[in-house]
Each structure stands twice: as C-alpha cells, then as structure tokens.
Subunit: 134 residues, 2 copies
C-alpha cells in the first residue's frame, strides 16, 4: 500500500543554523524558507537525490511543533511521510487494522497542497507517520 518515502521531517530550534549545516557542512541542495501560516510552521526543503528532508520551525502561536521542541530543545526527527495513492482507502485499511488517525480522522490539505493524515505514534512503534496522497 505505502509507496515512496516522501520526506523525513526534522523539527529545528534554529532554522538559520540548520540551513547553514545542511547547505555548507553537508553540502546539500537547500531551498528557501516558506512560511506556512495555516500550518504554524516555516518549512525548508532539502532535496536529496531520492527524497526530501523537511526542516520545520515554529511559526506564530500554537505551532503544532512547539510541544515537540519544548520536550526536545535541541530539535529532533519529528515524523516520516509515506506516499499513498488513495488516502481514504489507506485510512480505512489502517483503521480496520486498529490504528488511530489523529485529529478529526478526515484528510486535510498539507504543506505541499495535497491531502494528508497523521497516524498515532503509539500505533506505529513510537514513530509519528504522515500519509500523503500523490
């Protein structure tokens, strides 16, 4: 069912330092920051040959990553995103297997403009998993 790994998201407390690290020390292709006020984050995409790294930094009040950074002040790997062809079918299959979907359970439009869902980490061996329809 799941397809490509769309991205790995890393929550970072210092976006400038993270950009410098990936662009200079790691020599990766780093895109310009994008503010996503509807999602409460500023996002920087790092393009690898086979997938992306998504740096997430809080934007505004009530950012969904503020709690994570309060618990992990140095930052950390926040979630992984798998592509699916049909997000509603994927959700229903996972719910039938006992997995919990976060929030309302209905897909929302994510930071890439495509339907996404987040799955409960307790049902995925501690990993926060995003599904994105492609």
């Amino acid at each position: 069912m799941i397809g490509r790994l769309n991205h790995v998201a890393i929550a970072v407390p210092d976006l400038d330092a993270a950009v410098a690290l990936y662009a200079d020390a790691l020599g990766a292709k780093v895109n310009a920051p994008q503010d996503e006020p509807d999602h409460g984050v500023t996002v920087v995409f790092i393009e690898l040959p086979n997938t992306k790294i998504e740096l997430l930094h809080p934007l505004g009040k009530n950012s969904p990553i503020a709690g994570f950074l309060a618990k992990n002040p140095a930052g950390g790997i926040h979630h992984i995103c798998y592509e699916v062809q049909d997000i509603v079918a994927a959700r229903d299959r996972l719910k039938a297997a006992g997995a919990r979907v976060l929030g309302s359970g209905e897909p929302k439009v994510g930071a890439h403009g495509k339907p996404v869902l987040f799955l409960h980490p307790k049902d995925f061996q501690g990993a926060l998993v995003e599904l994105e329809e492609t």
Copy 2:
C-alpha cells in the same frame, strides 16, 4: 556532499508487531529479520520504492539501542543515514565545520558491510545522523 537517503531507522520494542504492521497494515515489502550480533541488533529491512526503513531491535547485552528504548519504551525514529562517496573526506569536512563524530572517529564496518560513522545529534539539530560510504 551527501547523496541519497540510504535509510530511516526505527527502534522497535516488539519486532513481530512491527513486522506485522508494515507487512499487513501498511502493505510494504518486508524482508526477513537478520541478527547482527557484532552490532547488538536484529534488523528488518523494509523496501520502499526510493529508500529503506530499517527496524532495529536489541540483540544480546549492551545493545546500542537499549538506552534509546529505555527512554522511549514505545520505540521511535532512531536515526537517518545519508550516503557519501568518500567517508573520510566527509568526516574531515564535518569536523572542520565543528561537528563531532561519535566513538573513535574512525569509520567502522556497519550492518550493511560498508564503512559508516555516526555524528553527534547535538551538532545536527537533535537528529542522530549516520554516514555510509557507497
């Protein structure tokens, strides 16, 4: 400098449950478990179209992931691995940029039979980063 994302590693407390989750609920291609006594882990590779997920479960005493699972009993995303063409050159560039290499600082042969190094999470925005020479 960095190339492909070689894998994302997830430390799991229950390997059978994790295999069932990825094979059945997520419908991914899951390989047979491999015991790696020299590395203190049992590894299961999940093949995605563009990269791999590596499930890690402790094997024997002094497993390098025992501490992580003690802190994260449900499991969690443990590290990400970037490919590099020349691991010694990559290490020297990162050290010159102020990053710390874990252990002796010399590459070791990793679970895939290739030279690897781990970098200090404090220098990588809280993410444990492995480099693998390909």
